[in-house]
Symmetry: C2
Subunit: 246 residues, 2 copies
DNA sequence: GGAGGACATTGATTGAAATCAAGTGGGCGC
DNA sequence: GCGCCCACTTGATTTCAATCAATGTCCTCC
């Protein structure tokens, strides 16, 4: 529970400037939120919470990537949430974590103590409204994910995941000029498999296939470049008017 | 867009009394909501909205069952929402429907004109807060659904769906005394398949298997009885502390 | 009563991804 | 530099659900 220097999060480039409930970005709520907020860093691989743990804060991701996942009694696990910078974690009004939360990279979170945050939500309508908007976005994302899990082939699942990460990654980058999309996969093959409802072997095979066919290029095991985003989108099975990432 | 007699929804037994945004149940907001609300009936099989349609209302389901679904370009479809009585439909702040909405039985909806509803949300914090709570519940349901789609076997999927419907059905019934759970399936085999990410043949086979093994009993094609709910729960693959429906 | 249609069941076969089983390669500590 | 470990790749085989194909059962409408 270590505080980090406030100045490391500069509002002008704050990744959560658009959507998150964050004192740095909401001048009118600054004073109220400022009092109950603190920053916290988790190292790569660290478990932030187990299902059923008491969670005394809610938070937004400032940097890094965390995952939510659920497990059946025999150990099969499914990722049910991918938290990228600006995403919200935790549920006001609920004491216990409903999912296993894990940091897949080093993660910095902007935490708000739960009780005072809930109180603020009650007294400051703006916060509840913003949280509602964010939750509705998450619900939309969850539903698109359901379509992926229920009806897409392994190849389409991989292409979809790459497209999602490429899009999110591009929207975080300030430099949008480069014609070629490049990014580092923030997930292991196993985490990708848990995201997609596949095994890690199938993920590996399909990534290799996309590479072999020139849809993507691999530098090392994690660095991806996409020479032609449209071509990748064709592999997703989605309607093609999904829009470019920039 | 026909109005129905207000007295047909009696507040004392109103199925939406617990969660929905409904003037009949919220005395302090009654006057405000009353002005912008109307009832509307859709017949079984009728499409309530296509993806991309302009939707000038939001609504709660009073009776009947509706589904939300998404389709890939080649026609594969996945159900992404199942609206039972008390569930909310539509998204404040969004003009267009994001999903195909279909009535699978006759459906009565309590509709609120979108613009005034949005205005009310802005001025009446309680409504936004309640909607947030409902949306968070939906998100939890969506995530459980993702676990089902990504990691469960066909048999577990069927058992899970039956358990979900049995639970919801039991919570709607006033008579909770009977030891045996009985209900009518509100979905065709094809709709069940779309819910579960299976084909209708697989659904049919697995339902037959559960019947053959005595986990469920079938009267006709749609009427199910569950002699032993615990036994059904064992087939879902879930942790067994999910709780009984009554 | 019989034709037609929607919904459902059942059987035979195929196929995509899981599973089982080696291997590869890069990073790191010693 | 060497060995070890971890993340990943690749191959062989199996399996579960999809697909293809009849057939069955109501129900409604003449």
């Amino acid at each position: 529970m270590q505080d980090i220097e406030l100045t490391t999060v500069d509002c002008a480039d704050c990744p959560i400037r658009h959507r998150a409930v964050c004192a740095r970005c909401e001048t009118d709520e600054l004073e109220l939120l400022e009092e109950i907020k603190y920053y916290r860093t988790f190292e790569a691989g660290q478990t932030i919470a187990w299902t059923g743990d008491k969670l005394d804060f809610v938070a937004t991701v400032v940097s890094g990537i965390a995952t939510l996942s659920q497990t059946l009694e025999d150990g099969r696990t499914q990722m049910v949430g991918l938290l990228l910078p600006s995403d919200f974690m935790g549920r006001p009004g609920r004491e216990m974590a409903s999912y296993d939360v894990t940091a897949t990279t080093e993660v910095v979170m902007c935490c708000f103590r739960r009780r005072p945050f809930e109180e603020l939500m009650r007294t400051t309508p703006h916060i509840a409204q913003r949280l509602l908007e964010m939750t509705l976005d998450e619900l939309d994302a969850a539903r698109e994910w359901m379509l992926l899990l229920g009806r897409k082939t392994a190849r389409e699942k991989i292409a979809s995941l790459l497209a999602i990460i490429a899009r999110r990654d591009a929207s975080l980058k300030l430099s949008k000029s480069e014609g070629i999309l490049e990014f580092d996969l923030p997930l292991t093959r196993e985490a990708m498999a848990d995201y997609l409802g596949l095994t890690l072997e199938t993920v590996s095979r399909q990534v290799s296939a996309l590479k072999r066919e020139g849809v993507i290029e691999l530098a090392g095991k994690r660095h991806i470049s996409v020479p032609d985003f449209e071509r990748l989108m064709l592999e997703t099975g989605d309607d093609t008017d999904g829009g470019m990432p920039f």
